[in-house]
């Protein structure tokens, strides 16, 4: 995948490039997009998740992760681990079976596909004859039983997938033994469930979809018992001792059946409709778990009253008098219970319930009173509110790290203290070299702090900016407040909530200073918040200022959203980052750029109208600069196109419906649930897309002009201590780059520390550079006398960087979407340039300075530009000579949101969204690699015991 570019006078040769650079996509963080199947091995203590795109992911202890991809990219329908093996079988929606195994290779385990197989019927048979509906891996590990739509059960040998035709359990054979009048041929259509007897491996329970259940003896090939259910069957579950089993049905009922040797056709012990008497939805899966105290856990999915709660995605847990219906915000894909897997144990004693919903993984602690949720160490739902921006900070000082963790732990008190129950495998990856934070901004006005140091992207702390503002939604409105005698006893679980009550709260830009703990956050309605880390709860007034970016420009009317209303008086903030200053831009357009200088205590912000500088020490606006072109009406009216605003209004109306539903929960007969909303949204998107496709695709070729729309859009802001006026004195400066190719430089006068509160900060425009190609300026950088990028604020003060060279002359690097240009300072003359678009047809989307260390030696490293283009390529460009070193294809060019979401780290790694819920992590540096490396070993001792006990049971059974 490497693309080498021959560059004359290249300072690096290709060997050096190999030492410094290589592109690796290392690990996917977050929650798999569109999960479709779940599997669990109590033996390996590993969980497997399959997706609609054919991916299969295995998770164990934190850091233990495997990923495989089916070549066909078909939906994974079922996942079954082979008992007591490091193997699993997947069933895809093209009816193919795939055997995967975990094998050790080079000191670490790898997931590999071993075999694939498609069941073939006799010639001329309909496809339904071999359409697999149920899979049972037998405990002997030698065969798979495959139930089909036709009612026949085929037996295939493992691992070869050879069909053992003489062992096929045909529906005719079953019917012959069930000599009953009310059984006909159709009773044996479609095998719904196959379950092996927990004590006797020679017996399997076969459930047909029309309600007939038979217990089949594999040794003698006969039906030993049959059970006549009156309702359509959904699923079966054996009680641990094998004396009873339970069946669940389409009408929302479940039935317990006894299995005794004397009665060949037992009657049900119990038939219950838990949420009756009104018609209920199907119970699609059920567990009956025994405990020492005798009270069983009955856990089932679905079964809600059809009319009023038919739209809920619920799993109910009943234990004695306790009953809770866990209510999920997205569809439940599947779930499993973690219980005692020791064969010798007498009771199940369930410890946790693991639920895979469409948008998140929820684990419930069944041992602790109140059944609290367990905080998952991985599979975080990044998209619980849509991600609007991300910001990465490398190498966090320990002190700040600990304070963030401690603030986060105060938020997580409602979680269970249970250790993570899925703990198979061993993580053998080296400890991460440093502490890295990934901050994600969300549509609902929150900022989430993720531990991005290692393989597990783990939520450390969540910050909400909502409290500062007055919004329609009352933040204290708790959806979980339930009346005493509410029935069914629903309890909302999970964090996935894609509905933002006010899109203006959305976070657009984040800047964290890791040395001072200052955080600046800017949002959709022109709000800029400066925050400070406080370890205690506090109540204080947030200072409020307004920045009129249009200044004296008259006659304009902003047609976009209104600014956010602020709360009067003191506001209570929990421990963590607490805002102390709010600047609101006027007009309240989206903040498009943000920079914070923690040493000078200044924050700069820009919108489509201009930019401003705020002194957060004195809480005073230093200056504003309007960059708007007088004829640019579009920028004034607000950036929303007609289509977009239509879509928005549609979404808002659904939001309103939903809100009213929440507030009047007791009202019966709901409509417009979440999935319907999503469907409607999807349909609307599709319609508008089709509409767009009808128009002929043509592109206007026109030179950019100063009159174009959004030329005043401020794309980048940069603080630098450099030589702006003359080469003898350097001074603080603020640089801004616009969409129209203009760079502004302001000379700043920041009073010395002892008079910092007494004298005002002054600013004066010193330079304005207009790039003739007028492409948007996406990056500004000053290089010191050694051609090294200037250090971050406070970096030198903390002894983490050499102080910049102020002797030699500084250079200014301006990166536009089309070109890279180096100018001299203080007198601006052009020194170097690199044209990208004119020669390659690609544009710069993201650019950052990355430090590359050699994988061979520790003491050498080099700064280069890491560039992501609109075609999804990553290019490395040397500094200060602007030579293209190497190009890697990284993201598909059609994946516009992936490219837009990309964030580079300071040490040559990066993240981008591969779906709304997943970050792909990649590494350009050969020195820093974060990838899963783990071992899954067969727990040998247990295996022997298990087999032993099994065979003992077998022997006993034979004797009897």
């Amino acid at each position: 995948q490497l693309v080498f570019i021959s560059v004359p006078q290249c300072p690096w040769n290709t060997l050096l490039i190999m030492i410094f650079l290589s592109l690796c996509q290392t690990v996917e963080h977050g929650f798999p997009h569109q999960p479709s199947a779940l599997g669990y091995s109590p033996f390996l203590r590993l969980m497997a998740i399959g997706t609609r795109s054919g991916a299969i992911k295995l998770y164990g202890a934190p850091g233990v992760e495997f990923m495989g991809l089916h070549e066909e990219n078909n939906t994974v329908m079922q996942i079954h681990f082979i008992p007591d093996q490091c193997q699993l079988v997947t069933l895809l929606d093209d009816n193919s079976l795939h055997l995967w195994s975990l094998k050790q290779h080079g000191g670490a385990s790898e997931l590999r596909e071993e075999h694939r197989f498609t069941l073939k019927g006799p010639p001329g048979s309909p496809p339904s004859a071999t359409q697999i509906t149920a899979v049972l891996p037998h405990s002997s590990r030698e065969v798979l039983y495959l139930g089909t739509e036709s009612g026949n059960i085929f037996v295939v040998e493992l691992p070869s997938f050879r069909v053992l035709e003489d062992r096929t359990i045909s529906s005719e054979a079953v019917l012959q033994r069930v000599l009953e009048d009310n059984c006909n041929r159709r009773s044996c259509e479609l095998v719904e469930a196959l379950r092996e007897h927990p004590k006797n491996p020679d017996q399997i329970l076969i459930g047909y979809s029309r309600g007939l259940i038979v217990l089949w003896d594999l040794q003698n090939n006969k039906v030993t018992h049959h059970f006549l259910g009156s309702q359509q069957l959904e699923n079966l579950y054996w009680q641990r001792d094998g004396s009873k089993f339970i069946s669940c049905h389409y009408d929302g009922s479940y039935t317990r059946w006894p299995v005794s040797s004397d009665n060949r056709q037992p009657e049900p012990l119990e038939n219950t409709v838990p949420y009756g008497p009104f018609p209920c939805k199907a119970i699609s899966k059920i567990y009956w778990q025994t405990t020492k105290n005798g009270l069983p856990y009955i856990i089932f999915q679905g079964g809600m009253p059809r009319a009023s709660y038919g739209d809920r995605h619920s799993i109910s847990v009943i234990h004695g008098s306790q009953q809770t219906a866990f209510d999920f915000t997205s569809r439940v894909i599947d779930f499993f219970i973690i219980f005692s897997s020791e064969p010798a144990a007498e009771f199940d004693d369930p410890s946790a319930m693991v639920v895979l919903a469409e948008e998140e993984l929820v684990v419930i602690d069944l041992k602790t009173a109140g059944w609290p949720a367990v905080h998952p160490p991985y599979l975080a739902s990044l998209h619980c509110s849509a991600i609007t921006c991300s910001h990465h900070v490398s190498n966090i000082p320990l002190k700040l790290w600990e304070r963030i963790i401690s603030a986060g732990s105060k938020q997580n008190v409602h979680y269970s203290s249970m250790p993570w129950p899925i703990d198979g495998g061993t993580n053998i990856a080296p400890d991460p070299p440093q502490r890295d934070l990934l901050l994600t901004g969300h549509e609902d006005g929150t900022v989430r702090f993720w531990d991005a140091s290692g393989v597990c992207l783990h939520l450390l702390y969540k910050l909400s900016t909502v409290r500062v503002f007055l919004t329609d939604a009352d933040p204290n409105d708790n959806m979980n407040t339930l009346g005493e005698d509410e029935w069914p006893p629903l309890r909302k679980v999970g964090t996935f909530d894609p509905y933002s009550d006010d899109p203006r709260l959305g976070i657009q830009k984040i800047y964290l200073c890791k040395y001072s703990g200052y955080l600046a956050v800017a949002g959709t309605a022109g709000q800029v918040l400066v925050m400070e880390l406080n370890d205690e709860d506090a109540e204080h007034v947030v200072d409020h200022a307004e920045a009129d970016l249009l200044q004296d420009q008259e006659g304009y009317r902003w047609k976009g959203h209104e600014k956010l209303k602020t709360r009067d008086g003191p506001v209570r903030f929990e421990a963590g980052f607490q805002p102390f200053v709010l600047v609101q831009c006027q007009p309240p357009a989206v903040v498009t750029s943000l920079a914070l200088h923690s040493e000078w205590k200044l924050v700069a912000f820009g919108t489509s109208h201009g930019f401003g500088l705020f002194d957060h020490q004195q809480k005073r606006l230093v200056f504003v600069k309007c960059t708007l072109h007088p004829s640019d009406q579009l920028a004034l009216e607000g950036p929303l196109s007609r289509v977009k605003s239509l879509k928005k209004s549609l979404r808002q109306s659904f939001r309103r419906i939903r809100r009213s539903r929440v507030s009047s929960r007791k009202r019966r007969g709901g409509s417009g649930n979440a999935s319907e909303v999503q469907e409607a949204n999807a349909k609307f998107d599709q319609d508008t897309l089709q509409e767009m496709e009808l128009a002929p695709v043509q592109r206007k070729i026109e030179a950019r002009s100063a009159e174009d729309s959004f030329t005043g859009f401020v794309r980048t802001l940069y603080f630098a201590d450099t030589f702006l006026r003359d080469s003898s004195r350097h001074c603080p400066s603020l640089w801004a780059g616009t969409n129209g190719g203009t760079v502004y430089a302001f000379c700043l006068r920041v009073p010395p520390a002892e008079r910092r509160m007494d004298e005002p900060v002054r600013a004066e425009q010193a330079k304005e550079i207009q790039l003739m190609h007028r492409a948007p300026v996406v990056g500004i950088l000053v290089l010191d006398g050694r051609s090294t990028p200037l250090p971050e604020p406070l970096e030198v003060a903390h002894d983490l960087s050499k102080s910049p060279d102020m002797q030699g002359s500084h250079q200014l690097l301006v990166v536009s979407e089309e070109q890279f240009k180096v100018f001299t300072l203080p007198k601006v003359s052009s020194k170097l340039k690199l044209k990208l678009t004119a020669l390659e047809g690609c544009r710069v989307r993201k650019v950052t300075v990355a430090n590359f260390g050699s994988c061979k030696t520790d003491d050498y490293s080099e700064n280069d530009l890491a560039v992501l283009t609109n075609l999804g390529d990553i290019q490395i460009i040397s500094l200060p000579f602007l030579k293209l070193q190497i190009r890697y294809p990284c993201i598909r060019k059609e994946d516009v949101s992936g490219i837009a979401s990309c964030v580079f780290t300071k040490y040559g790694q990066g993240f981008y969204l591969i779906s709304p819920s997943e970050f792909e992590r990649f590494s350009l540096s050969t020195k820093w690699l974060v990838e899963p490396r783990c071992i899954v070993e067969m727990p040998e001792a247990t295996t022997n015991n298990h087999v032993h006990s099994k065979s003992a049971v077998e022997n006993a059974a034979r004797k009897s």
């Binding site: 070729i701 026109e702 790039l771 052009s830």
Partner: protein, 347 residues
């Protein structure tokens, strides 16, 4: 007034000297004049440089008739009678939609007074079916004025005819540069942009490349209408730059690249405004070849004036190109000619 004097045919000297001589014999030392002569066909042709001066002298048979007009009241249209009548209709229709006004004066003078807006280049190295068109966007207010689309074209490959995706011109904006040159037409297939092949590139990529090169755009097309192609080995064609060679490599991007190197540097110079002062071009840090520098300076001044790069305080509503240029104090007398009305001539 008539004057008659003799010149040494074998050593006519320089145009400057000749011009001085004319001023001297007419006793008009400080009056700017236009100099013309009649050639064998009776056309009035200008004498304004060494080349056409030497040409004029060589055509003397034995007498050379020279006409001198005061510059300010010169009748420009008298020059090149035949050529002018042929071209006039096209030009005046295209360039001056309001041609009910007084007949335009087209100045034929020193080369730097001309501003090319388009040209067909590299005719000698391209296959006959291709055309390489250069559009000079700088110095004109006209939009480039065309659209491109995806399409497919048929290529001859070793496996026979094959349909391959291509990029085509889909629309010309009336009054735009592309339309006014008459060199590009709807459904022309775009093969290269500034020497870089477009095959394998998406419509958006090609769009970006064209816009990035918009100040000096060179498009190689396969015209949809092949009848108007340059016919080689014939001197009757009206196109310039034709060549008698007919078999040459089909595409030579390297040649084009080297051709562009010098000019490319000049095609875009950024502007710096220091301390809210006057906008100035950003100079090069390292000195480059002087000839290119001086050439580019002139083009650049046009860029800056025509595109209205002024401090925003001076930006009123509708500057005409001329009024802006008047605000510039051009120190070098050699550049005075920049203050012309910006008439556009297709070379």
């Amino acid at each position: 007034e008539f004057r008659r004097f003799s010149l040494e045919r074998s050593k006519p000297g320089k145009f400057e000297e000749f011009y001085g001589l004319l001023q001297h014999v007419h006793k008009i030392p400080n009056v700017d004049v236009l100099v013309g002569y009649t050639d064998v066909h009776g056309d009035l042709l200008p004498i304004n440089n060494d080349d056409n001066y030497h040409k004029a002298v060589s055509t003397a048979n034995p007498l050379l008739r020279i006409f001198i007009q005061r510059k300010e009241d010169a009748d420009y249209s008298a020059f090149g009678t035949d050529t002018m009548t042929r071209k006039k209709n096209v030009l005046s229709n295209v360039l001056r939609p309001d041609n009910h006004k007084k007949k335009p004066h087209i100045v034929i003078s020193m080369p730097q007074d001309f501003r090319p807006v388009s040209s067909i280049i590299d005719v000698d190295i391209l296959p006959e079916t291709h055309r390489r068109v250069r559009l000079y966007k700088y110095g004109t207010d006209k939009p480039l004025g065309f659209y491109i689309r995806d399409g497919s074209s048929v290529r001859v490959t070793p496996h026979g005819l094959e349909k391959v995706p291509g990029i085509f011109i889909s629309r010309l904006v009336p009054g735009g540069l592309a339309q006014s040159t008459g060199l590009l037409a709807v459904n022309d297939e775009v093969l290269e942009v500034n020497g870089i092949e477009v095959s394998g590139k998406s419509l958006d990529q090609v769009t970006d490349m064209m816009i990035a090169n918009s100040r000096n755009l060179i498009i190689t097309v396969r015209p949809a209408n092949q009848r108007n192609n340059v016919v080689r080995n014939s001197r009757t064609s009206g196109s310039s730059g034709q060549s008698t060679e007919s078999s040459l490599p089909s595409s030579t991007p390297n040649l084009l690249g080297s051709l562009l190197q010098g000019e490319e540097e000049s095609d875009e110079e950024d502007i710096i405004i220091e301390d809210s002062g006057e906008p100035q071009q950003i100079p090069k840090a390292a000195p480059t070849s002087e000839s290119i520098e001086s050439l580019s300076q002139i083009e650049l001044l046009h860029e800056s004036t025509q595109n209205g790069f002024l401090p925003s305080s001076e930006m009123n509503s509708n500057h005409s190109a001329g009024s802006i240029s008047m605000e510039y104090d051009v120190p070098d007398p050699g550049r005075k000619s920049l203050e012309e009305d910006g008439t556009i001539i297709t070379l």
